[in-house]
Symmetry: C2
Subunit: 324 residues, 2 copies
């Protein structure tokens, strides 16, 4: 299959987004957004850095990469609409494997009515998947990390540490022993970006949002830095799945604080609007948990504090950061 | 430098585009386009497939990659506004080399008042540079390949074969013998996408446009296929630089027809509006040359014909296609 046949194979017959004028097939795609702001970001995934074929099937690689991008849209309180895909594919990969990557993306895209706007597929030595996602949000309703204010309540969606637990199970347990932990494996391979919850937050007057891609320690610090506030987190309140207790305490603590890749949301909101967040959680079937509060910044080097068993400690950014 | 320091280093202090609300620094960027259509595409460049450090400095790699993307915007008759960059950088590359790649992009972006909306930089084994570009065009004025009509005149901008000649000089000649051919080397390393010319074509009622990234043989075939017409090209009319005659005839013919990477435009326009194209060429200091005409499609397998010395032959797609 050459490049041109491949592009034809990923062209959609029908567009889902009403704003789309021209999808895949020309030099570029064209869409029209008249009443909303446009939101866009890019994320890149490299084989053996961000994923391994040992623990993910090609379908999962596509699914999870798009999920990570959609999660960025959720973190902006925005509705994902389009994606563009760049793939560097090693020569030893088969056409079927490449098709499976696109199938994984397509299945998740369908859930969110997203259209593919462009695809560039080239040969190389290692698999690289880079996705640009584009979404829409009501004017001036994009949710920034810099929106936190002293006195806010801090909340997270879902349960944390699941994805890291899933990776641990896949790497450390024999295949026959993995089955009881299929929940964690699924959370690792096919995470659920919190789009419907985040969209509904548009009714709030103010909310700071970040998605948990590199671990809550890192994401809380990003909010603290951008908002110039201090974040106080109670470790015991961080929500986790009941099966997580079956693993070693130190491991689970690391997974919950720095595991990342859960693609849940961390946010801060005024006490006054907190009941609204709880209500939106119930209505969108999204678990929401209060885990702490925001105060004024007193020490720039110690902007995230962690409380556990009445002990207070500084929580450093320890999320996995690339390019070191 | 870790990922966070790097993102800070590429943040712009001021935005050039009035539609930009939030640039690099949050989960995603936000912009607002109320009166125009939005156009977007992605292009990916892999070391030793699309470029080599033997013939390009890091600065040129960045410059040319963005030029190729901007050229896609020109091919849509559109005004480039934003770009997002994903880089996989091998560990043995230095911070300075990475900074030089961004410098090359930034210098060309400045020419077109473009803002950087996002950047993801990760480690890998081979350099991969993937750019998503976003631009704006007046409503319903995007220029598709499918706009060609029987009776149209075919034109190209600039001169063809320059970039391939530059690559030949860089690969085949000793450094001391390259200097007389610096024109071709510059065209290879720092091509000029035809934005100002393409934008002005918005005043035309209809024009089919494609940019010459894979050679005119291939691009003409793309217009023929999309428009379901036949393209007739006179080889002698294909414009080339006067120094190209210094090379072997067969080589120059291949460079002109299939060399690609010149990032000139090929278009078709009605005879009635052809004088307008000539005028816009003059006003934007863009060389424009008529090279043939469009007829009705009589044979789907032979949709591009080449005439030379009164010989008529079928011109097959022979542009370089990846993923073979």
């Amino acid at each position: 299959m050459d490049e041109f046949d491949f592009i034809k194979s990923i062209q959609q017959k029908n567009y889902k987004q009403p704003s789309l004028i021209k999808g895949v097939g020309d030099d570029a795609a064209v869409f029209r957004s008249t009443y909303q702001d446009t939101v866009t970001s890019v994320d890149t995934f490299v084989e053996n850095v961000h994923f391994s074929i040992e623990t993910m099937k090609p379908y999962h690689i596509g699914y999870r990469a798009l999920a990570a991008n959609i999660s960025d849209m959720a973190a902006m309180g925005c509705n994902p609409a389009y994606y563009l895909v760049s793939i560097v594919i090693p020569k030893h990969w088969s056409e079927q494997q490449l098709a499976d990557i696109f199938e994984g993306m397509k299945d998740l895209a369908s859930v969110h009515n997203m259209d593919l706007l462009g695809g560039d597929t080239v040969s190389g030595n290692e698999l690289v998947l880079s996705i640009t996602v584009i979404g829409f949000v009501d004017k001036d309703k994009a949710r920034y990390r810099s929106n936190a204010v002293s006195g806010d309540r801090i909340f997270v969606t879902g349960t944390l540490g699941d994805s890291a637990a899933g990776l641990h199970v896949l790497l450390e347990l024999d295949e026959k022993d993995q089955e009881p932990f299929s929940y964690f494996i699924n959370r690792h391979r096919m995470p659920t970006p919190r789009v419907s919850f985040a969209k509904r937050l548009q009714s709030l007057s103010r909310v700071a949002l970040n998605d948990i891609s590199d671990g809550i320690a890192n994401e809380a610090a990003e909010i603290a830095e951008a908002s110039k506030v201090m974040m106080h987190i109670n470790y015991e309140q961080i929500p986790s799945h009941h099966q997580l207790d079956q693993f070693d305490y130190d491991k689970t603590k690391e997974w919950k604080l720095s595991g990342g890749e859960d693609f849940e949301l961390i946010g801060t909101v005024s006490e006054k609007e907190w009941p609204l967040v709880v209500k939106i959680g119930e209505e969108t079937n999204t678990k929401v948990t209060a885990i702490g509060y925001v105060s004024e910044l007193t020490n720039i080097a110690h902007n995230v504090m962690l409380y556990e068993n009445n002990n207070k400690q500084v929580l450093h950014k320890s999320g996995y950061t690339h390019l070191k």
